[in-house]
């Protein structure tokens, strides 16, 4: 799992690469701290290279969503692959996130 954070003006983009499973969820939660800190702004999670997400990963997405909602920012998830779309569909996450 690798998270690359880039800043483009007021928008922060976190690009995920690899598998976000239970084993590396803890590391990811530390890596995404800059995004948590910028939760009052415009945040994009680019999942083009995200191969897999476990329930622990989903939980971290939820944590970020909750923080953004609390601080008045905006969270957008982009480029989910088919498998993860399915996960999002089953778990009802489609209704919770802005997905492009």
């Amino acid at each position: 799992m690798k998270l690359t954070i880039t800043r483009n003006g007021s928008q922060m983009t976190g690009s995920l690469c690899g598998k976000l499973d239970t084993v590396n969820a803890e590391q990811f939660s530390r890596d995404m701290q800059p995004l948590m800190d910028a939760a009052d702004g415009d945040i994009v999670l680019d999942c083009t290279a995200l191969d897999y997400i476990s329930s622990s990963g989903l939980r971290l997405f939820l944590t970020l969503r909750k923080q953004v909602a609390a601080k008045g920012g905006k969270l957008t998830i982009r480029n989910l692959n088919e498998g993860i779309r399915e996960v999002f569909a089953i778990t009802g996450f489609f209704n919770l996130f802005t997905i492009e």
């Binding site: 598998k19 499973d21 239970t22 084993v23 969820a25 897999y52 476990s54 329930s55 622990s56 989903l58 939980r59 939820l62 944590t63 909750k66 569909a89 089953i90 778990t91 009802g92 996450f93 489609f94 209704n95 919770l96």
Partner: protein, 592 residues
Amino acid sequence: MKKLFQKWLFVFVSSAFFITFIISWLLHSHLARQSAEELLRANLVEVASRVRGTSRNLDTVIEISNHTALAKARAFARIVAENPGILEDKPKLHRLIKELDVDELHASDATGILTTSLAYNPDGKSLNDYNGFDMASTDQSAAFLEAITNPDFALVQEPQPNGILGRLFQYAGVARIDQPGIIQIGYHPARIEEAMKVADVNAIAATTRIGHHGTLTITPNDGSCPAEGKVFTSEINGAEGLSVAIPCEQYILTATLPQEELYLSRNAVIRILIIGNLVLFAVIFLLVSRLLQNVVITGIYSVNDKLGKIADGNLNEKVEINTTTEFVDLSYGINTTVNALKHAIENEAKRIDAELEMGRTIQTSVLPTDFPDTAKYSIAAMMNPAREVGGDFYDFFTLEDGRQVAIIADVSGKGITAALFMMNAKALIKEMVLAGSSLRKAVTLANEKLSANNQANMFLTAFFAVLAPATGTLTCVNAGHNPPLLKRADGSCEFIKVQPGIVLGITDMATYTEQTLTLHPGDYFCLYTDGVTEAMNSRDEQYSDPRLLETLRKICGSPAELLQAIRADVAAFVGEAPQSDDITMLILHYKP
């Protein structure tokens, strides 16, 4: 560190070199000056004594010579008095001039006119005739006129250059005894000339050596002797020098040594010193560097190397450097620390293991094990927890109206938190389902309660199924869980198309929908968690939905047998890879 040390070593060594150089320079300059002064003074003393000696010698020679001259003049006067005829007797006069060893014999009358004169020219052969010469006609000869009137008169004149050649010549005269007149002899004062040559200060100056290139100058003492006996710098022929001057008799003696020669020995010493010091300091620098390298740097690198290995997690690494006591102490200190750390980690690991064991106990102890097996249906379930406690659970119980409830759930996250959340959720769900008028309402209510005050953002996916044993009607509610499998009595298998539903615990606004399907006798209804389909092998491949479907299609038997077969296939697929998630399954068999 080595570079730093070498830098400072270099600074110190070069400072020492520089200071040594300065001190030597000053010391040797001083010594050179001092020895030059001594040399100059010694030379001056010697020259002064020579000047005095020759000067005295000259005086003595002049005195003796003058006495002799007077004696000869008196002898000539006595001979003339006793034998006046000799003045006319040329041969006798010639003999007499030879016997008296003089060059000229003169005798005048009472008027001062020379009546007899015999004078050899400087060649000693030809004669010069002064007969009739008036002694009063020149200042030099007039000095003898007093002899005519004073019988006691005697005069020896200073030697004077005579004639064209400037030959030194001297006259001596006395009064005539036989009659008033002058008796005079003239001669060349060879001894005096010789003594004067010896006493010539210019000759002394030319023959005196001061060191190699030093000079001695002798100048008339005009009362302005510069810094008598003191050293002063001077300039001779454009070269700077060191001089000492002293007055001596009527002269000033000045001895001068050129700077170049003065500092010749100092420069030689300094050159040798520089070369010697450079070699010495280079050796010291190299030796100390080398020593530092061997004793300290190598040790430190070795310690760093070991510490790097220890930091990489190899706590069995030992530091053993025995070069110096300090390193032995350091090694001992590091080893002790690492050992203590190792023990602490082991203890912590034991504590964590104990905690994990407790979590696992919590998780497994709440799972029902009295699997129902009635005439219409039977249920089997299993849960294999991963090493780290997860939050999967299954549950089954019967409602008051005899319907059978089966639930499977997967709590997000790991650890004690997940286990406690799971316990709470399981109890809450059971309570709601038992009390609720409908399954949909029970799930909605359970979600509301779980969502309230959920600080940890925990959530769970769950699938609820309620079987009416008499009709085979299965009422289902899905809360974000994996779609169940249905294995029909004819052997066909399929994933049930479930209604999507939001996972439990995130939002209290979620609503759920019920769906019903009908089980026919001999059908198997199979619930599982993603621990099954997403079980990973060492090549990072997932067990996957299709494989689960295929496995289920191939096997038959009691629910317990199906569970075992699927579990065995998953285990075979995963191989050596560690189990990362709980593996939980529940199979309901609607008996034929």
